[in-house]
């Protein structure tokens, strides 16, 4: 493996074949790089097409998560007391910690794209490893939070319990009790909480799986020979997942806090 990496790195220093250097002319737009597909006029066009396609995919993702956000907005207006009390049950320190983890993960992803562009193979591998690490920490904290909801019977379904909301004093919670009919609507809050954070977590799990493959390929030098499109487009995906959490954190954890 190490020999293979060394040979990949040594490639740009190899003597150029005469006819290839003759073909190359900086005014000629039709310079052919190994990654250049023949149906694109130039490499820039190829890169632009890839980025455009990725953004179109992300727009469908905006609509997908947008539907969930809209449902949250609407139900929060309808059942405000239930949503406010249920939202306060979430842990702000854990949510804030996770926000910092995701921002860090996104930062190292951005540095990874930079490392690929300036062709630093070793650095790219480390940046991808750090991106994965902070992503995994985020998911680990999420497991702790979900487990806590399980213990409090706050997972929607047959075992869901409104006990903590109709009789908070009995559980040592300093909140006003909810009327039983309003308290049943806390289940909608937790349904949306699990739907939104669960979908977000699923996107992260898929992202981490792809990161694993990318680390393996980056070690072999696949992204540091001038073809950075894959790393770049994965970066777009990863930052998009960050943005979803940037909205989820205040909407789920914070905005009902002050009452």
């Amino acid at each position: 493996m190490d020999n293979a990496i060394a040979s990949t790195q040594a490639l740009p220093n190899q003597p150029l074949m005469p006819h290839e250097s003759a073909v190359h002319d900086e005014h000629d737009p039709h310079v052919v790089l190994p990654q250049h597909r023949h149906h694109f006029e130039t490499e820039e066009q190829q890169r632009e097409a890839g980025s455009f396609g990725m953004w179109l995919f992300l727009l469908t993702e905006i609509m997908f998560f947008g539907g969930l956000f809209f449902a949250y907005l609407l139900y929060r207006n309808w059942y405000y007391p239930a949503f406010a009390v249920a939202s306060v049950q979430l842990s702000v320190p854990l949510g804030a910690f996770n926000t910092v983890m995701l921002i860090s993960s996104g930062f190292f992803m951005a540095l990874g794209v930079w490392a690929a562009e300036v062709r630093k193979r070793e650095l790219l591998v480390w940046m991808l490893v750090l991106t994965t690490f902070f992503g995994c920490v985020f998911l680990g904290v999420k497991v702790v939070e979900y487990k806590e909801k399980w213990e409090h019977h706050h997972i929607p379904g047959p075992s869901f319990s409104v006990a903590e909301f109709v009789n908070p004093a009995a559980y040592g919670i300093d909140e006003k009790p909810l009327a039983p009919d309003m308290a049943t609507h806390t289940q909608i809050f937790f349904f949306l909480y699990f739907a939104m954070t669960g979908m977000h977590a699923l996107h992260m799990i898929i992202g981490i799986a792809i990161l694993g493959v990318m680390i393996f390929r980056a070690r072999a030098g696949a992204y540091t020979t001038g073809h950075v499109t894959f790393v770049e487009n994965f970066g777009l995906y990863w930052h998009f997942v960050d943005i979803i959490w940037i909205y989820l954190f205040p909407l789920l954890y914070l905005i009902s806090r002050h009452q």
């Binding site: 727009l59 609509m63 921002i103 951005a110 072999a220 905005i255």
Partner: protein
């Protein structure tokens, strides 16, 4: 070992010259942005404990929107992208806001005059 082992037909310098339209964002920019993002995270947590009535969600959403714009412009390179990419991103957000606006106007006006 799927690394393309095809020899390059040019050296580093000429590749950079060829790709001079493609802007490489420097790590210092990323560092600045991540600093602002972390400060804004602290700010949004602090603001949530201040009683501002109906302005609490507005402030939280404004901070989130500001963070999103920073991520989109710098981490996602839209600031340095072509007009096609900028228009695509703008059109996506605009379409989403139109859908939300139209649906909300339906919910707000459905029982109009009947309360």
């Amino acid at each position: 070992m799927s690394a393309p082992n095809v020899p390059h037909d040019k050296d580093y310098e000429s590749i950079e010259e060829h790709e001079h339209h493609h802007h490489i964002v420097s790590p210092m920019v990323y560092l600045t942005i991540v600093g602002i993002l972390l400060v804004m995270t602290g700010l949004t947590v602090a603001a949530s404990y201040v009683e501002m009535g109906m302005f609490n969600p507005i402030v939280a959403l404004a901070i989130a929107a500001f963070k999103m714009i920073l991520v989109v412009l710098f981490f996602m390179h839209v600031k340095y992208s072509t007009k096609l990419t900028k228009l695509t991103v703008g059109a996506g957000l605009f379409t989403f806001l139109v859908l939300v606006g139209m649906t909300l106007s339906d919910y707000w006006t459905r029982a109009w005059g009947r309360w």
